[in-house]
């Protein structure tokens, strides 16, 4: 969180931070639901049958690197280098799209194998939690593209920079939620 320029920006940053905290509580409750439901497989497939460690690792790397490239975009924008900032943002969006594509292919494979959200309580909770995160990432990608559009149309004005910092908070926050997802859902699921 680099220093916001005005009191007005500081208020906006606090407001956005409060939103992130409520979103964290929402995710925490989806995590609690998932943990309670892991035993509720209703005779259907378990995490051990469904999850792929290499795919989860690839998704983790994509999001982690994208958090770093977003950081570089923020730094470039702070230096007033609009072109570099836009290139870093586009790279971030590309990594995010790669993540969502991997996740969608996982979901499609599971549904095709008869392990959709309607199969068991465990799978309902899985799709609710991982799907909610995937939707957040998709919204984040959309916002990054809008951000690039604003930078092209308006340049690096003070409002654009303050929006970029808040979008960065959102993007880094989603990576934290993903750490929870691979630690609570995928790794314990793959363990024998």
């Amino acid at each position: 969180m680099s220093a916001p320029v005005s009191a007005r920006d500081e208020e906006k940053a606090l407001g956005f931070w409060l939103y992130l905290m409520t979103d964290a509580i929402l995710f925490a409750l989806l995590f609690a639901t998932y943990v309670v439901m892991t035993v509720g497989t209703a005779g259907g497939p378990t995490g051990h049958d469904l999850f792929s460690l290499p795919r989860t690792f690839a998704e983790t790397m994509l999001l982690l690197v994208s958090s770093t490239t977003f950081g570089f975009a923020t730094l470039a924008a702070g230096r007033g280098e609009g072109g570099a900032a836009i290139r870093w943002l586009l790279l971030t969006a590309l990594l995010g799209i790669g993540f969502v594509a991997l996740e969608l292919s996982e979901f499609a494979g599971m549904i095709a194998a008869g392990a959709g959200p309607d199969r068991s309580g465990f799978l309902s909770a899985f799709f609710a939690l991982v799907g909610a995160h995937g939707l957040h990432v998709s919204a984040g990608i959309l916002c990054i593209l809008v951000m690039v559009g604003q930078m092209l149309a308006k340049g690096l004005t003070a409002p654009v920079l303050s929006r970029l910092i808040r979008l960065g908070l959102f993007w880094h926050f989603l990576d934290i939620v993903w750490v929870g997802i691979f630690s609570v859902v995928y790794l314990p699921g793959v363990l024998p």
Binding site: M1, A28, F31, T56, T68, L169, F173, S183, L187
Partner: protein, 99 residues
Amino acid sequence: MNEAGARTYLTGLTLALVLTAVPFGIVFAGLVERPAALVVIAAAAILQILVHLRWFLRLDLTRTPRENLLALAFAALLIFIMVGGSLWIMFDLHDRMMM
């Protein structure tokens, strides 16, 4: 200033890579018993979340505005009560139903 900024993100990336490689490596190798593996996964996750808060979200106990830290602490308290309470009640119920 910006040199330091880039170094901050790269430090965060390096630490996060290590804290990701350890739990994935343990599960991939499959050498450790399940309970011990779960402890390592949980410890690595908590450490990695702290790494992300410090080096990606740039939280700092002295420079970050007090209200933001208070909001974070309050959210953590709510999460602890609601998640801890839910798990406690549901698994207690689960055990009693099994008997």
